[in-house]
C-alpha cells in the first residue's frame, strides 16, 4: 500500500519537473478577448500577437519608429512620402510601403499587397466593427503598385505619416470570403477566433497552435518565417489573473518569466526581488503610463489655479515613490515622459514645499479653521472629493498617503472609490466626479494629448461621451497647439511647440502630475535579449531576438 502511495506521489509530481530550454513559459494577468489584430484593443492581445504576426511599423525600445514587415520607412527625403492635394482640395500625403521579400503566412502563401488591400477595405467598411476608424477614414485610397508594394493616400498631413499603427496585412486568402459574406457578422465568424490555430493566419516567427480560453495560448515555431531564427521551439503563455497565484507559479517553476507589460504590480515585484535574491533577473522599465490626478476644473474650488498649485506643492512625490516604490518610478512634471524625444527638461517643477502651499492657499482666500481644515470667506470648508479605482491596492495606498499630506496643508480629501468599470465608464466619462480622480494614461511616444487637453474633447452627451478631457480644461492656446503640433513636419519647430505645451501644462496644471509607472519584468537568469519598450508596442514584437544564455 505504501509503495502504491509513493508511486502515486511520484506520478503526480512528474509534471512539475524542469522543462527543456527550447521552451519558454510566460505568465501574464490577462487573456485576450479576441485574436483578430484589428478588433478591440487590449494589452494581452498585443502581447500574444507580438509573437505570431507583425504589423508594418512599430516604435522600438529606443522609441523610434521602425519597419517590421516593410522594407523602408517612407519619408519626404527618400521620396516614399509625397505631399499632395486631395481631390477635394485639402492638404494630403501619399506614402508608399514595400513588403519585405520572402514574407509568408504560416501556410506558405506569400504576404502580398492584396492582404493590405483587404485589411484596408475591411477597415473602411463601418459595418466591420474594427475599433477606432479614424485611420481608415483618413486613408481614402489604397493603390496596389505591385504584389509587394502599396501606396496609401491620406487626407491629412501629420508628422506621424510613416506610422501605420495597427494597420497590417490580414490574410485575404482566408478572411476575405468570410468578410464579404456579411461584414456585420464578420467579427463573430473570423478565422482568427473560429480557427485560431490555422497556420495561414500568422506571419510571425511563431504561430498559435493551441488555445485554452481564459487559461493559456501555445505557440510553435512558424516554419514559413524567413527572419531571424527564434531560439525557442515552443512558447506557452499562461493567464493567471491573481498576482499572488502568478508569483507562486513562478516560484514553483511552472512559469519561467512574468511579462512586465501584464505582470506583477511594482510593489509586489519589489518585495519578490528582496525575497528571492538573484534567483531571477528584475528590470523595472519606466514607461508611458502616466499616473496623475484629473481635476474638475470647471467648478470651484479647483477652478482656481492657485489651489491646484498648492495641492502639488503639498504633495511629497519623492517620498512616496521612494517609500512605496523603492524609487523605481520617475516623478512626472507633465504628461510628457522624460524618455520622450520631445520632453523638455527645463519645464517648471513643483518640488514639495508645504510653506509655499500654505502661502498660496492663504493668497487664494482659504484660511485655517478650528479643526485645521481651511475655510473661505463664505465659511465653506476646503474639502475635496477624491476618487480612484476600488480594489487597486497600490492606488489606494497612495490615496491614503496623499490624504494625510494634504491635511497638513489644511485641505480635506474625502475618499470615495468605485469599481474600475463604474469609475471609467460612468463617473469619469460622464464627468460625474466632483474633485480629484486618480488614474493613469498610457500613450505612444510623441503622442499629442489632444483628447485629454483640447476643449473639443470634453465629453458630453451630444458626442456620445467620447473624448477624454474629463476635467473640462479650456485654454485657447492649448487648443491651437494640440491641433497644430500633429500637422508640423519640421522637427525643430515641433519641438518648440512641444516646449510651449509643456510650459502651459506645468503652469496651469490641468491635471496634477504624479509619476510614470514602471513595468516590472521578471526573467529567469538564463534568458537574455528581451528589450522592454515602456510603450504600447510590446517587447514580443522582437521576440526572435530572445536567447538562452
Amino acid at each position: 500500500m505504501r509503495l502504491r502511495v509513493g508511486a502515486l506521489l511520484l506520478a503526480v509530481a512528474a509534471p512539475a519537473a524542469a522543462q527543456p530550454r527550447d521552451t519558454l513559459t510566460i505568465g501574464i494577468t490577462q487573456y485576450p478577448s479576441t485574436f483578430h489584430p484589428n478588433i478591440e484593443n487590449m494589452a494581452a492581445k498585443s502581447y500574444v500577437l507580438g509573437f505570431a504576426r507583425r504589423p508594418l511599423t512599430a516604435y522600438g525600445a529606443d522609441w523610434r519608429l521602425a519597419c517590421l514587415t516593410c522594407e523602408t520607412l517612407p519619408s519626404i527625403e527618400n521620396g516614399l512620402a509625397e505631399r499632395e492635394t486631395t481631390p477635394d482640395g485639402k492638404a494630403g500625403i501619399r506614402v508608399t510601403y514595400r513588403l519585405r521579400e520572402g514574407l509568408r503566412w504560416g501556410d506558405g502563401t506569400p504576404v502580398s499587397s492584396d492582404d493590405l488591400r483587404f485589411a484596408w477595405e475591411a477597415g473602411r467598411d463601418a459595418a466591420t466593427g474594427f475599433g477606432p476608424a479614424e485611420f481608415y477614414r483618413s486613408a481614402y485610397e489604397l493603390i496596389v503598385v505591385d504584389p509587394r508594394t502599396v501606396t496609401l493616400r491620406f487626407d491629412r498631413v501629420t508628422f506621424e505619416y510613416a506610422s501605420m499603427g495597427d494597420f497590417q496585412p490580414l490574410p485575404a486568402h482566408i478572411e476575405r470570403e468570410r468578410w464579404q459574406a456579411d461584414p456585420r457578422t464578420y467579427r463573430t465568424r473570423t478565422a482568427y477566433d473560429t480557427e485560431t490555430t490555422n497556420p495561414g493566419l500568422w506571419n510571425g516567427p511563431w504561430r498559435i497552435t493551441d488555445v485554452r480560453p481564459g487559461a493559456s495560448v501555445t505557440l510553435d515555431r512558424n516554419p514559413a518565417w524567413n527572419g531571424e531564427a527564434p531560439a525557442f521551439r515552443r512558447i506557452t503563455i499562461r493567464t493567471v489573473e491573481n498576482t499572488p497565484a502568478l508569483e507562486a507559479q513562478l516560484l514553483a517553476g511552472q512559469v519561467d518569466m512574468i511579462a512586465g507589460e501584464l505582470g506583477l504590480p511594482i510593489e509586489q515585484a519589489i518585495a519578490l526581488e528582496r525575497r528571492t535574491g538573484n534567483r531571477f533577473r528584475f528590470l523595472f522599465q519606466p514607461g508611458l503610463i502616466y499616473e496623475h490626478l484629473d481635476v474638475r476644473l470647471d467648478q470651484p474650488p479647483l477652478s482656481d489655479r492657485r489651489l491646484r498649485q498648492a495641492l502639488l506643492l503639498a504633495t511629497d512625490r519623492r517620498t512616496i515613490t521612494e517609500r512605496l516604490f523603492a524609487g523605481r518610478q520617475p516623478i512626472a512634471n507633465t504628461g510628457v515622459n522624460p524618455l520622450d524625444p520631445m520632453h523638455d527638461a527645463d519645464v517648471r517643477q513643483w518640488p514639495f514645499d508645504l510653506a509655499r502651499a500654505r502661502a498660496l492657499l492663504d493668497e487664494a482666500g482659504w484660511t485655517p479653521g478650528p479643526d485645521g481644515i481651511r475655510r473661505n470667506a463664505a465659511g465653506e470648508r476646503l474639502s475635496l472629493e477624491f476618487m480612484t479605482t476600488a480594489g487597486n491596492r497600490g492606488r489606494e495606498a497612495v490615496q491614503q498617503v496623499l490624504q494625510g499630506m494634504w491635511r497638513a496643508a489644511g485641505i480635506e480629501a474625502r475618499i470615495r472609490n468605485e469599481p474600475p468599470r463604474v469609475f471609467f465608464a460612468e463617473t469619469l466619462s460622464h464627468r460625474r466626479f466632483q474633485g480629484l480622480a486618480l488614474f493613469a494614461w498610457i500613450s505612444a511616444p510623441e503622442s499629442v494629448p489632444r483628447s485629454a487637453l483640447n476643449s473639443d474633447e470634453i465629453p458630453r452627451e451630444a458626442t456620445n461621451w467620447s473624448g477624454q478631457n474629463f476635467g473640462g480644461y479650456r485654454n485657447a492656446e492649448m487648443d491651437v497647439l494640440t491641433q497644430t503640433i500633429p500637422e508640423q513636419l519640421d522637427v525643430a519647430r515641433r519641438r518648440e511647440m512641444w516646449r510651449r505645451l509643456q510650459a502651459i501644462y506645468a503652469e496651469d496644471l490641468p491635471a496634477i502630475p504624479l509619476w510614470f509607472r514602471s513595468d516590472a519584468h521578471v526573467w529567469p537568469q538564463w534568458l537574455e535579449g528581451v528589450r522592454p519598450t515602456g510603450h504600447l508596442n510590446v517587447s514580443t514584437l522582437w521576440a526572435e531576438e530572445w536567447r538562452v544564455r
Binding site: S33, Y192, E241, P244, L251
Partner: protein, 339 residues
Amino acid sequence: MVPRDGIPKDPILWRGGLEGRRPSNLRRPMTRILATRLAQIALTLAILSFCAFALIALMPGDPIEVAIAGDPRLTAIDAARLRALHGLDQPFTTRYLAWASGLLQGGFGYSRLFAQPVAALLLPALLSTLALAGTALAIALVAGVGLGALAASRPRSAPLVDAIAVMGQAMPTFWLGILLIIAFAVTLGWLPAGGTADHGLGLSYLVLPVATLAAAHLAAYARHSAASLEATLTEPWIRTARARGAPESRVLLRHAFPNAALPVLQIAALDAGALAGGALVTETVFARPGMGKLLYDAVMGNDTNLALIALLLVALVTMLATLGADLAQRALDPRLRER
C-alpha cells in the same frame, strides 16, 4: 417523530418488516410530482432570465463606454457605430426578446468577451468545475460524515472533531489555498501551484484545489452529521435495536445513519448546486478555468450572452440537485411520501 396509523416510526423496521402492508393512499404518483417540479423549474428559469437580463442591462457602463474611456482614438462616430453593431442602441425589451427567442431556437449566442460561441466556452468550464467541485464534494461528504459519526459514537473524540471542523470553517479558502501552494508547490515542489495540465487528465493539478475546497465543506458536514447522529442515537428505536443485541456498528450504520443522513443530504444538494456555479476563490487562487471564474468574468465584462446562459445553467443544476435530494429523501423517509 410522531407515529401514524400504527406504523412503527423506525423506518428501517418499517421498510424491512411492513413494506408489503403499506397503505396505498400514502404514495402520490412520482410522475405527477416530477412533472410539477419540472414545470416549476421552467417557470423559475424564465423569470430568472428576465431578472438577470435586466440587472446586467442596468449595470453601469456598457462595453462601448468602457472602450471609449480607455481608447482616445475612439470618436463619437465610432461609439455610435459600435453601439449599433452590438445592438446596444436597442431598447432593453427588444434586446431581451431577441435574446430569448434565439435561446428558444437553441442558439446560445456568442461571447463578446472571449470571441467564441457560448456553448463552446461553457462545456469545458463546466467539466473542469465538475471535476474540481465533484471530487471535493465527494471527499468532503465521505470524510465529513465519517468524522461526524466518530464524534457521535465516540464522545471522547468529539472535541477533536469539533476542533477540525472549527479550523475548516474558520480558515478562509484563499488563505488555505495559498498555504497549500507555499507548502506543496513552492517549498516541497511536489505538486503544481495551479493551472491545468497541457495534456491528459492532470490529476496532480487537482490535488491542492480539491483539498482547499473540500476542507471548508468537510467541516460543515462533520458538524451537521455529528449533531444529527447524536440526536438520532437517543431515539427509542435505537434503544430497541441495542436491546435486541444488534452490534454497535449495525446500530450506527443500519438504524441511525439513514435517519441522520437526511439533513446532510439536503445540505449536500444545496452545495452541489452552489458548486456548479464554480468555486470562484479556489479557481482564482489556483488559476483553474471553471464556471465560477467564467461567470465572474462575464458579469464584470458585461458579456450578457455568456453571463445569462451561465447563470441559467447554474440555476438549473441547483434546482435539479435540490429535486434529486428531495427524491432521495422521499426514498429514505416514508413519512415524506405521505405528503
